[in-house]
């Protein structure tokens, strides 16, 4: 546990300077035993004064704690006046015998009751008719003597007697902390004047050389920094972006939340009756009403050109590359055909395909809609390429601890000739090892736009079980070939949410504590830096 903030605790001056007293006493006597030399001062005050002096090396002290035997009020009376039995004996002796009835009058009710019995047992007195008469002429009051000794030494070795006296409520036990104090290496009779900090003035006038610095409390935290902070989710996002950049991925232009059914579903070979296109799962847009058919988008094109300039320059060869301009009309028709009638080696879904459904606007349900656009662009000049994006997607879900209507999708796409399914597994092994997850398993799964499709499971050491950490697959020919991509150019796709690994990694059980306006600012400010490979 970290120490508390602030200076070393110091006894306040108003209570009399105990530290000063300790120094004075030490001058006369060493070592000091606080229980004897300062018996009236409460222990916490002694401790504070000693700490203050010890932190300046003026004293050294050792702590001892013991149990003191303390006399009760009744026992103290016995020490002062004698035991009950003695009082009874004494009364009988003084009066030369005493009627039983009158004993109380002489020694009091308590002593009469207890003392009579004890005096009989000790054979100090006996009963003669209704009278008490003396047996022993001289007695020794051992009980009083015992208590007197205990009162002086505050201790009793005989455990049996101790228990007996405790039961008779004559003594109590009390824990006492005391200190044995001796002079420290910097002992002096007075506490020297101290300065709390080094100042510019002290540097200027040279007083720092002789100054006595008040010691620093190394058990406390330093001053709180009025620091700004980056959001934990964005810090994780940055780690993932770095992993992608290190692997040569180009970031995709995801700057539109709204997409058409065409890019979000149809072009991905998601049939128009697929449950994902239900009102229950997807946010549809009421205003604006309808998208245009797919067409050239010069602004986004320019962004892609700028990003891919580096690769183009680096891999440039003397021979000119064949650029086959995109034909959006043909693409649209191809997509329609592959759904409705089958094409490109597929029998298709064989249902009446609706252009109206295709041009409905939706809040994108995945950033794979953008990957589709980028892959269609790649068909102009089919070549190995890697793309990624991390951005917001939307689902018309009922909000609960693990579902929000918005979250971030991490998406990666690799296009190349001769890709194999095992190669995707290998790539993902490497990818996830960078976040400290090794040992992956893959489960066959269904996804309308990938075939094969694989759910990625990683062994979570903390949870002690296999957890699903992502989805992956190879895009279907029905998605790629309508774009004009060659049959032998295969494309890996993989994705995961940004929130899920963040929640697993940082033990957040409610997504609303991570994303959205209900997140606690203290959580944002105190989350440590994200190093996925370091845990």
């Amino acid at each position: 546990m970290p120490g508390t903030r602030g200076p070393v605790p110091v006894v306040s001056e108003s209570k009399g300077d105990l530290a000063h007293d300790v120094l004075q006493l030490l001058d006369q006597k060493q070592p000091l035993h606080t229980s004897e030399d300062l018996p009236q001062v409460p222990q916490p005050e002694i401790k504070a004064a000693l700490d203050r002096l010890a932190s300046r090396s003026m004293v050294q002290y050792e702590t001892s704690d013991r149990e003191d035997v303390i006399l009760t009020k009744e026992a103290q009376t016995i020490v002062e006046e004698g035991s009950h039995e003695f009082k009874v004996w004494d009364a009988v002796k003084k009066n030369g015998g005493l009627p039983v009835k009158e004993l109380e009058k002489h020694v009091g009710k308590d002593s009469a009751k207890v003392g009579q019995g004890n005096a009989f047992r000790n054979k100090w007195i006996k009963k003669d008719g209704d009278n008490l008469v003396l047996v022993a002429q001289e007695v020794e009051d051992t009980a009083r003597e015992l208590l007197r000794k205990i009162g002086e030494t505050k201790s009793l070795d005989d455990k049996k007697v101790l228990t007996d006296l405790k039961k008779r409520k004559l003594i109590t036990l009390s824990k006492v902390i005391s200190y044995t104090v001796s002079k420290g290496p910097k002992y002096a009779k007075e506490i020297p004047v101290e300065v709390t900090d080094l100042t510019a003035e002290m540097l200027a006038n040279g007083s720092w050389e002789s100054a006595n610095f008040k010691p620093y409390n190394f058990n406390a935290l330093g001053a709180s920094q009025n620091a700004g902070a980056l959001h934990p989710l964005n810090k994780v996002r940055q780690e993932f972006r770095n992993i992608f950049f290190n692997q040569g991925f180009v970031e995709m232009p995801t700057g539109h939340f709204v997409d058409s059914g065409f890019w979000n579903f149809d072009a991905l070979f998601v049939p128009q009756q697929h449950p994902a296109r239900d009102m229950q799962d997807t946010f549809f847009i009421s205003d604006p009403p309808k998208a245009d058919k797919p067409r050239a988008d010069p602004d986004t094109e320019a962004q892609m050109d700028a990003m891919e300039e580096g690769a183009r320059r680096l891999f440039a060869t003397p021979e000119k590359r064949d650029i086959k301009p995109r034909d959006y009309e043909q693409y649209f028709q191809n997509v329609k055909d592959v759904h409705e009638k089958g094409a490109f080696g597929s029998i298709g879904y064989r249902y009446p395909w609706s252009e109206d459904e295709c041009l409905k606007l939706v809040l994108r349900t995945h950033t794979t809609a953008v990957s589709t656009w980028v892959l269609h662009r790649l068909a102009e000049d089919p070549r190995p390429a890697r793309y990624f994006s991390i951005d917001r997607v939307f689902r018309n879900e009922t909000v609960d601890a693990t579902h929000l209507a918005e979250f971030h999708q991490i998406e990666g796409v690799i296009a190349d000739f001769g890709l194999t399914l095992g190669g995707l597994m290998k790539f993902l092994e490497d990818f996830f090892s960078k976040m400290g997850i090794s040992n992956l398993r893959f489960k066959p799964a269904y996804n309308p736009y990938t075939e094969p499709s694989m759910e990625v499971f990683g062994y979570h050491i903390g949870l002690g079980k296999w957890v699903e950490i992502g989805n992956s697959g190879m895009f279907r020919p029905e998605m790629l070939e309508p774009m004009g991509l060659p049959k032998d150019l295969r494309v890996y796709g993989f994705g995961l949410s940004l929130e899920r690994p963040t929640m697993i990694k940082y033990g957040v059980s409610n997504i609303r504590e991570l994303l959205g306006h209900k997140v606690d600012l203290e959580f944002i400010r105190t989350q440590h830096a994200v190093r996925l490979d370091k845990n």
Binding site: A227, G228, A229, H231, Q238, F245, Q247, F249, V250, G255, H256, F257, V258, D259, S260, F283, I285, D287, A291, D292, D297, Q303, A306, M307, E308, G310, A311, I347, G348, P384, R392, N396, E397, T398, I414, D416, L419, T420, L421, G422, G423, M425, K426, F442, K443, P444, A445, Y446, E451, P452, M474, P477, E478, G516, H517, V519, D520, L521, I524, R525
Partner: protein, 593 residues
């Protein structure tokens, strides 16, 4: 994904051995289905009331595993305990097929019908329950809540062919619905089932149509009113021996898929499967249904091997494919091809890519050689807008402000009314089907999210200083998607005093980092060549009068108004339940790209 509950002991009996939960989970994992729950250990009353069940999640396109029979059969084939059966049609004893004539009026509401006859079927309670449950699962999934396809099953011995599929005005259709005692017409039936939890949700499919679809026998007995309910007259029972199945639909492909599934799952309980003669001349749909011939496809050996990373001879591939229900043999036309028969159960197989995946499953996904074949170097690049956004984020954080990430969707009033802003229309993207009023539009400003964040953090000590760099959305009819995003930067401070100089100072700092110099308004307006930013007092109802300024930028020879900052108007504070003064700044980052 549909989840199917099957009797654990019965399934293990079919699989010929006992499995521990872990072993069975492993089998499911390899095959691509998922064991959701084994109720053996469950203490829930509903689980204790029946023998232990396995709840299995089935991929959404595997309609052949939506019942006990299908799961058992496919796993038995996968474990090489049996080969997939071959389903064949038989002619009826008398030689005469049952016929069903489709009337042209049905095109007005539900044009397609198909069916089949299962003769000499033997039901047990379990089979009967499974038969009903499968129809329900098909209705929910493939049939999209009965809109596309619906199934009716009848005791053939209670009705008399030939049958007709017609479309009639609701008042003219009269019958006793399944499990009812009172005769009612189509209109009354709609009212009767209006409040019915189970059937009420299907009424909309036909309710407002002038004609309702209906199937009659030759005595004008109503068999069913698809897609709502069957007649009580022809209801099947445990003693039913001969079953007539009729399937009505909007979708030609799906009607036959459903027919195939029912035949494949329950045909084996019947002595024979007899076709139904469909007469439908008006749309050229006259035929005998169903067609149980497997679909013939070809697959390239090289393709199968290349994508899986295997190097198997054709014969071995064929053997592996058999475990997934195919019958495959090297093609007679070319040694590079396989002739693959796709059984009627595998409606999900569309392309040789599907066959390739099944080969990988039969081989074992996790046994495939994990070698990364891609040797191509690549050059990474960040999206310019994200790079710019990151610069602003880091500078804001370094200036002592905390980053927040509120949601992009918000209510209309948070975005407009609460900020004293008017929606002039054509600006904000509106959602058609939100589940709550919290999500009505795509935000056009970052302010609502920032203010809601401060509001939910009121318990912290002030000053609270937060910022966000993220996108807002606008309608933009010039775009293909009729909308566009805009990257904004915004910050808000709540404290005992307004914090006006704080947001102003943060703006100056960000501008400095973005290499934009402060110039006076006069200089900015006078000299178009002078690049930099200046601020102008502005009258904006979001802010306290006299304490708001619009932010102007001259960059690359063009003037922009990029945002506004100021002290929020007390009425705004009240709406967002903010107890102290708040100042905000918001700018559009796009001009800096």
């Amino acid at each position: 994904m549909p989840t199917i509950s099957v009797d654990k002991a019965e399934l293990f009996k079919e699989l010929g051995r006992e499995y521990t939960t872990e072993e069975f989970d492993e089998l499911c994992f390899e095959f691509g289905i998922e064991l959701d729950e084994d109720t053996s250990e469950s203490k829930k009353p509903e689980d204790l009331a029946q023998p232990p069940q396995l709840k299995i999640e089935i991929p959404a396109n595997r309609y052949d595993m939506l019942c006990f029979e299908g799961i058992a059969m496919n796993l038995r084939v996968f474990l090489e305990k049996q080969k997939l059966p071959k389903w064949t049609l038989s002619a009826p004893a008398g030689g005469e097929l049952q016929t069903l004539t489709i009337k042209e009026e049905t095109t007005r509401i539900r044009p397609l019908c198909s069916g089949v006859v299962l003769k000499g079927i033997e039901f047990t309670q379990a089979r009967y329950d499974s038969f009903i449950a499968l129809q329900d699962k098909l209705h929910q999934n493939l049939a999209r809540q009965r809109t596309l396809v619906s199934i009716g099953t009848h005791d053939l011995d209670t009705v008399k062919g030939p049958f007709t599929y017609e479309a009639l005005p609701p008042e003219q259709i009269e019958f006793i619905p399944l499990n009812q005692t009172k005769k009612m017409n189509g209109k009354q039936l709609m009212e009767f089932y209006e409040k019915d939890k189970h059937l009420g949700r299907y009424l909309h499919i036909i309710r407002d149509s002038p004609v309702y679809p209906v199937i009659y026998d030759s005595n004008r007995t109503v068999l069913s009113l698809p897609p709502i309910i069957n007649g009580n007259h022809s209801k099947i029972t445990l003693d039913t021996k001969n079953v007539l199945i009729e399937i009505t639909a909007l979708d030609k492909t799906k009607v036959e898929i459903v027919n195939h599934m029912l035949v494949a799952m329950f045909g084996s309980y019947a002595e024979s499967i007899e076709p139904l003669k469909i007469i439908s001349p008006h749309n050229n749909e006259t035929r005998e249904a169903p067609d149980l011939t497997p679909r013939e496809m070809q697959a390239e050996v090289d393709y199968l091997n290349q994508v899986t990373g295997l190097d198997l001879p054709a014969q071995e591939i064929c053997k592996l494919l058999e475990r997934m229900g195919y019958t495959a043999k090297p093609s007679s036309s070319s040694e590079k091809l396989l002739d693959v028969s796709v059984p009627i159960t595998r409606a999900d197989v569309l392309h040789q890519a599907d066959i390739m995946e099944d080969l990988a499953i039969a081989w074992g996904f996790n046994k495939l050689p994990r070698i990364y074949p891609n040797k191509t170097a690549a050059v990474a690049a960040p999206l310019p807008m994200n790079k710019l956004g990151d610069i602003v984020r880091f500078e804001a954080a370094a200036s002592g402000w905390s980053e927040v990430m509120p949601l992009i969707l918000c209510s209309h009033e948070e975005n407009f009314e609460w900020l004293n802003r008017k929606d002039s229309g054509g600006v904000a993207i509106k959602l058609a089907n939100p589940k709550t009023a919290e999500y009505q539009i795509v935000r056009t400003s970052l302010l609502p999210g920032l203010l809601k964040t401060i509001s939910s953090n009121r318990h912290h000590s002030v000053p609270i200083k937060i910022f966000e760099v993220s996108d807002v959305g606008f309608i933009d009819l010039s775009q293909e998607r009729k909308s566009r995003n805009e990257r904004h930067f915004a910050a808000a401070i709540m404290g005992k005093t307004s914090g006006f100089e704080q947001v102003h100072g943060l703006l100056d700092r960000i501008m400095l980092m973005l290499k934009s110099a402060f110039i006076t308004r006069e200089d900015g307006l006078k000299n178009e060549g002078l690049e930099g930013y200046w601020i102008e007092e502005v009258d904006d109802p979001t802010f306290l009068a006299g304490h708001a300024a619009s932010i102007k930028l001259n960059i690359a020879g063009k003037n922009h108004t990029i945002g506004v900052f100021g002290i929020l108007h007390p009425s705004v504070l009240q709406k967002f339940e903010l107890p102290y003064p708040v100042s905000t700044v918001e700018i559009n980052l796009a001009p800096f790209l």
